[in-house]
Subunit: 122 residues, 2 copies
């Protein structure tokens, strides 16, 4: 396996809210996603989820805590079972690296038009 | 938990080859390390290990495959059981983000003067 360059991987897709798997380790998947706008409220009952911002500003709303604001080079772990809703501001497209168990469902038990059932690999 | 800013966390320590835990999820630890020079040959029998370069150039030597060269924004997963030796070039200090199971021993079953037994948290 060669080195994985994040910007090279980001250049290979343009669809939003559709994470792509770039690596796997210890039952976890490393994914990249481009997002813009407001996602859907959901949680993952058994999976903690790490958000790392590569470009732009990501906000994550919660029901039980203050909104988290993530700039490039910042990360946050959403604990399992915590309802959250990622969103961006204005027209900015935000680039994310995600880490979560391979088994994680995209929108938990919530169904949305953007729900991805099978993750592409890059 | 507030957002975790990598550069802020890096500013809080200066010792080399001594990873600091900045987050945990799904039994994995996210660690930061500053490194310079050549580490020790070792492997982790049961743990895959992700290296992500934040600053500088990291080389990882292997016995069974070509050396991997990682620049900032690049990552590599060293599979479990694969002997490897991270190193840097010249006098450059290299900043890394690591991901591996919380149980991972720093230098596997190898003992080295730099072996860390208890990881600090930042």
């Amino acid at each position: 396996m060669p080195a994985i360059n994040l910007l090279d991987k980001f250049s290979r897709f343009s669809d939003q809210w559709s994470p792509k798997v770039i690596a796997e380790l210890n039952g976890q998947a490393v994914k990249l996603a481009k997002v813009q706008g407001t996602f859907v409220w959901h949680d993952h009952a058994e999976e903690d989820e790490l958000f790392f911002v590569v470009r732009g500003t990501l906000l994550i709303d919660f029901e039980d805590r203050e909104t988290v604001r993530l700039e490039p080079g910042e990360l946050y772990v959403v604990p399992r079972g915590v309802r959250h809703c990622p969103r961006t501001e204005g027209e900015e497209e935000v680039w994310l690296m995600l880490l979560e168990p391979i088994s994680t469902k995209h929108t938990g038990e919530v169904e949305d038009a953007r729900t991805v059932r099978t993750y592409d690999r890059l």
